[in-house]
Amino acid sequence: MKKKLIALLVSAAMLSLTLCSGVLAEDSESDLAYVQEKGTLVVGITNFEPMDYLDENGEWIGFDADMAKAFAESLGVDVEFVEIDWDNKILELDGKTIDCVWNGMTLTDEVTSAMECSNAYCKNAQIVVIPATVSTDYQSADDLADLSFAAEAGSAGEAVLNDLGLNVTPVKAQTDALMEVSAGTSDAAVIDSLMAAAMVGEGTSYEDLTTSIELSSEEYGVGFRKGSDLAEELNKFFEESFQSGETMKVAETYGLQLAVIGDDAEAETESETEALTE
């Protein structure tokens, strides 16, 4: 009986071992090769206009979605968009259930330490909007101390003003903040630069206002698995696409032409890495 039992246990152990080795895949050294072999680039996204969102036909569009489609095409693979839980993005990447996070992701320390990130391709900033007539008087953050500001309640703009200890009136929307300045009830407003580009200055509804200094800025990048060679591949793709004007064409479709980061930023990061290697 005992012998039988031992034999049974041993065979069970052997069986589970062989099963394990059966499902244990070879770790290919190149992520690029891995993606090309399976033929699909799985892109992790959330529903985030204007980067990734659904059109009426239920297809994913947006600046990021369109760029991801073009990048997949350049690799010769299909693209598959998968909605993920944003909190689990690193788990999804490392678990290989997605191949990249491409969703207007701000390049924070958390993100850059856990992922292989591409160069920044897009920029958003909190920017001061003031009447054009007085704009020359306010060129640095120190000049702002005596101004009264309007900013959307709960926005990044309100947060940065509070951090600086400036006088803020919270209003309901970013457009309301502009109206406050236009009406003279506040001296200046802080809104995000994407919106400012569309609504302030010549040829817009607020011609007498202008943008002044940036208080804080964030950059968007694409995240891959740590150590992945796809990040470098994407940087190359971004450069080519920017030079051919393709990137700008897509950006204009979604009104992001002023936010896109092209050559200059890449040159900057290149010189930075050069400085590091020296």
Binding site: L5, C20, V42, E49, E80, V82, D85, N88, L91, T97
Partner: protein, 228 residues
Amino acid sequence: MELFMEQLPIVVRSLNVGFLQTLKLFFVTLIGAFPLGLIIAFGSMSRFKPLSFFTRIIVWVFRGTPLMIQLLIIYYFPGLVLHNPIWGGGESGRFLAASVSFILNYACYFSEIYRGGIQGVPIGQEEAGLVLGMTKSQIFFKVTLLQMIKRIVPPMSNEIITLVKDTSLARIIALQEIIWAGQAFMKGSQGISGAIWPLFFTAIYYLVCNGILTLLLGALEKKLDYFR
């Protein structure tokens, strides 16, 4: 109010899609866990000690850890540790992984209910079968099983109603069930953003579904009354 009436059809359409996924997971789990639970129950009652020990360990693990962790492990473990993401990243892979987790978890709970039901049938019933010259399997299928079913309906109803609500845990691996669909409107989806009410509105779906189930299970219980 006007805004609400405007948003309602969009939200309901989106919640319906999510609830369909919830129901799919619910039925797949039941279909898988009913028979698997019975097999596990036999395993844990087996007179072959290593087998019953092994099954009881499995039941202990699945009942002793949160279903949410089981979902995370079953979905992410193959890719993270074995470097072979067997489920894939798509919606169907997520559904499959969720189904496997739910079936295993619920089969373990069901197995204990079955065991209680089988062991609760008086020994005299089995002895009577033996006297009549029935085989073991005849006794089980013709004598014990139906009496067991009658006994387990109330505790099973409890588990089934819990299962409807537990399906919401699958959103942790981004299965887009009804809670996910409701929450999407908070951040913005289909032109509606910052709307909190769709999330709370999902409760009505669960309530109606469980109301229907309660009635059905109550009717089943009545129908089995003649065993008394």
